[in-house]
Structure formats: C-alpha cells, structure tokens
Amino acid sequence: MKRYLKTIKLFWSTAFAAQLEYQLNFLIELLAMLGTLSGSIFILSLFFSDGRQLGDWSWEAALVIQGVYTFLDGLTNTLLRPNLTEIVNYVREGTLDYVLLKPIDSQFWLSIKKFSFAGIPEIILGLGIVFWSAIRTGINLSIYNTLAFFVSLFIGFVILYSIWFLIAASSIWFVKTWNATEVLRALLAAGRYPITAYPVILRFIFTLLLPVAFLTTFPAEAVLGELKFFIILFGLALSTFFFVLSRQFWIYALKHYTSASS
C-alpha cells in the first residue's frame, strides 16, 4: 500500500513538471470550461422559461445537478481521460509489454499514471456550484446529507471509471476503441439533466444499463436530502459489481494479449 502511494506521488509530480511546459493549456482549458458551463446553464434556463419545471426539479435543484456534472467532468479531465484513452495506444504500439513487465499492478499503473492539473479548477467550481445552489434551495445542509453526497459521488465515480476501463480494456481485441469511448461520453452528457426529465424508457436505461442516474441525479438528491437510503446501498452494490467486473475483465483480457507485431 505504501509503495503504491509513493508511486502515485512520483507519477503526479513528474506529470506536474511535464505540464508546466504547456502553461497556455491551463488558460485554454479554463476558458473552455467557463464557456461550457455558461452554455449549459443557458440551455438549462430555456427549460425553465415560462415558469416551467424540469421533471419536478426546481431551478436551484437542477443547478445542483449541473454542479455534480461539472465536478465529475473535472475529475474525468484530470484522471480518466488522460489515462484511459492511452490504453488503446499502448496496445496498438505494443508498449503495453513494458507496462506488464513492471513490478506493479498493471491496472493501477494504467489508471493512475497521468494527472492533468488543468482539470482541477473544474472540480473546485463544480463543488462550489453544488453547495451554493443546495443552500439556495432553502434546505439546511446536515452532516448526514453531506456525507451521503460524498458517498454517492464516490459511487458515481467508481461506476464511471469501471465502465470506461471496461471499454478501454476491450481494445486488447479490437485495438481501435477510442471512438467507443466517444459514444460513452456522448451518452454521459445525458447526466447534465435530472433523470426524471427523461421519457420512461430512457429513465430505465439510464438507471440500470448505463447508470447515468448514479453519476449525477442521485448525488444531487443526496445533498438535497431526498435520496432514499436503499439507493445508496444499491449504488454501493452496483459500483462494487462494476469495479469487480472491470478487474476480472482486465485479467481475462490480458490472457488474450498477444503484443503488437509478434
């Protein structure tokens, strides 16, 4: 365990040094993030024109969901995207060999090696929006709600990571899968809006098949104190299931890895 923590420290400090070379990137990311956020809030406001509501969600409550989405998007940009999109390249170029030879767990190495600091402002801003809008809805933020919020955020992140890793791991067979993750990203954009705003079929799909609801709607409900306890339990079970699945799938996939050009 200690060894792994030390490795993370080394990984991220070298990542930081490498990114200092591209300082302009921070600025571009920041601008893109602010543009995306204001654009999404603008689109959201169109739903609420003429005093309507969005699937029983008030304006402030819907903003909480935007906050959760922004937070997860930031986490995606710092950790998931830089790491998991590389797996395809390792497989294609055969450099996965070197990773497998290292005396450290390969899934760990592949999932944590890179760290993009440009995503950090998005994470902070996302959390800020969540708590600011939650307080504006008039609820009092109890310790229990805050705790439930962070637990369900964790559940959401684990599910997101596992699904993404599953798709990335399938590149061992298909090699070119990075556009499969594009399909995933396109579908995840559905998480910007509360799950109850969708037609019934999509609600079902987004809860059980591709659990978008666990990524944004449920954490938002948690902070607003509306999340039922059994959903947290169900989420814990579901995220464990997805994580174990990604783990087992990776072990299975490695048995089929034949390296490039050999």
Binding site: I28, E29, L46, S49, R52, L54, E182, V183, A197
Partner: protein, 265 residues
C-alpha cells in the same frame, strides 16, 4: 477539366483510395455515427417536458428538427485538426508537402470519403428514429433535399476552414488540438445542435447570428425539416463566411509552411 488546379484523374484517385481506406474501418465509422446521438437525447428532453410550444414547434416539428440536426452534423463533422496534428508531429507531413498536391486537399478528400462511408449508418439510425417516432415520418421534397444538401456542404466547408485555421497553428505550437476546444464550445451551444435557435432570447440570437455557428447546423436542419427559413439570408451568410475564411486559411498556411522545420528531422 480541372478543379482547384487538380485534374479529374487526380481527384478520382484521391477519392477511391480514401474511400477504400475508410471502408476498411466500417465499425469505427459506425461508432462515430453513433457518437452523434446528442440531438436525440436533447429531443427526448424537450419533448418530454413540453417545451416545444415555446419555440413555436409541436412535437412532430421538434422530432423532425432534431433528426435533421443529427443528419446535418453527420455530414458536416470535421476532424482535420486531429489528423493534421498527428501527421505533423510524427513527421508524415514532410512527404505530403513535397507532393504537388496541397496537403489540405488530401484531408478534404478523406472527409468526403468518410461521409460516403457514413451514409448507410446514418440511414439505419434514421430508420430506427422513425420506428420509435412513427408520427414524425416525412419525406422532404426534391427541392428541399437539394437545398439542404447544398447548405450542409457549405456548412461542412465553413467547419473545415475554421478547423484548418486552428490546424495551421500546428506550425507554431505542438498542441493546437487543444485550441480546437475553443471553437467546439461555442459551436456546441450556438449551432442549434442542442436546441433550435428560435428558442433563444432575442439578444442571444442576435449575437449568435454574428458568428458562423448557426449556419453550421441550424440553417441546413431547418431546410431539411421543412421549417420556414430565410433561404437567401442563410446562403448569403454561408458564402460570406467562406469568402472570409478561405483567404485567411491560405495566408496562415503559407506563413506556417515557411516556419516548418519537420518534426524529428
């Protein structure tokens, strides 16, 4: 007959090779086609929440608009900056520059070949859309189809030129694809991919109309879906943007090539 200084034979060879190349990766292209589902997600939201009326659109109109937006996007998607960055960083650009063919034209032919490969997938997705929303079925008239085709092509040209402008910056910086996000974000919100622009408040709409983005999705999609649309105004702005962008890309490209030092050489 020559087009852009290319003989017919060169054009034909370019297309057939690129088309053969694209056919090799059919699954990949099917997945790209699928990754354009965003308009459908937005459609399900807008129609479920009865917002359509405030745009002056009923449910059928809304369905037709978003299907058209999806189709227009399928045939105006541009990725030149990503290919170009890769070619530039890996040094593949050097032989391209030596050939008596503008490298950008090579990418144009790749894009057009990819669009041809996408066509069957787009048709399949359209059929599925109509199966789920049978009431929205419609067949546009021939003139509508032709005008929408033309507008989509012009939209593709604008998008391609915009991205080439960013791609040309590869000559100065290694990571110009990061800059592409600064185009993509306003494109996402102002093009009409997420919502018909008629839903915008007046001031935002005025601002949007000063940018090239509404002419990339909203204008062609309106023609295809049979919504009332100011054709003259739309085509005028499309052509205006092309006449602004074409010389800019040309100039930036020439300046850039002079600086080119062949990565890794």
């Amino acid at each position: 007959m020559r087009l852009f200084g290319l003989s017919f034979k060169v054009i034909k060879t370019l297309f057939t090779t690129q088309y053969a190349y694209m056919l090799e990766y059919r699954v990949e292209i099917a997945l790209w086609a699928l990754s354009g589902v965003l308009p459908f997600i937005m459609f399900s939201l807008w129609s479920q929440n009865d917002v359509g009326n405030s745009f002056g659109l009923n449910d059928i109109g809304l369905a037709r608009y978003f299907l058209s937006a999806f189709l227009v996007r399928q045939f105006s998607v541009v990725w030149v900056v990503f290919s170009f960055e890769e070619d530039s960083l890996s040094g593949r650009l050097s032989p391209y520059l030596l050939q008596p063919l503008h490298p950008l034209l090579r990418y144009v032919s790749a894009h057009l070949a990819e669009q041809a490969t996408r066509l069957p997938f787009a048709i399949v997705i359209t059929i599925f859309f109509f199966l789920f929303n049978p009431s929205s079925f419609w067949i546009p008239s021939l003139s509508q189809l032709f005008l929408a085709y033309l507008a989509t092509h012009l939209a593709f040209s604008i998008a391609f030129l915009l991205q080439s402008l960013v791609a040309s910056l590869c000559f100065w910086t290694e990571k110009s694809s990061a800059l592409e996000r600064l185009i993509f974000v306003p494109y996402l919100f102002l093009s009409g991919l997420l919502v018909p622009l008629s839903a915008f408040p007046e001031k935002v709409l005025m601002f949007a109309n000063f940018t090239p983005f509404p002419y990339l999705i909203n204008f062609p999609a309106k023609i295809l879906s049979g919504m009332p649309v100011d054709l003259l105004n739309g085509f005028f702005y499309q052509i205006l943007w092309i006449t602004i962008l074409l010389p800019s890309v040309n100039t930036l490209w020439k300046l850039g090539v002079r600086r080119y030092t062949a990565m890794g050489a």
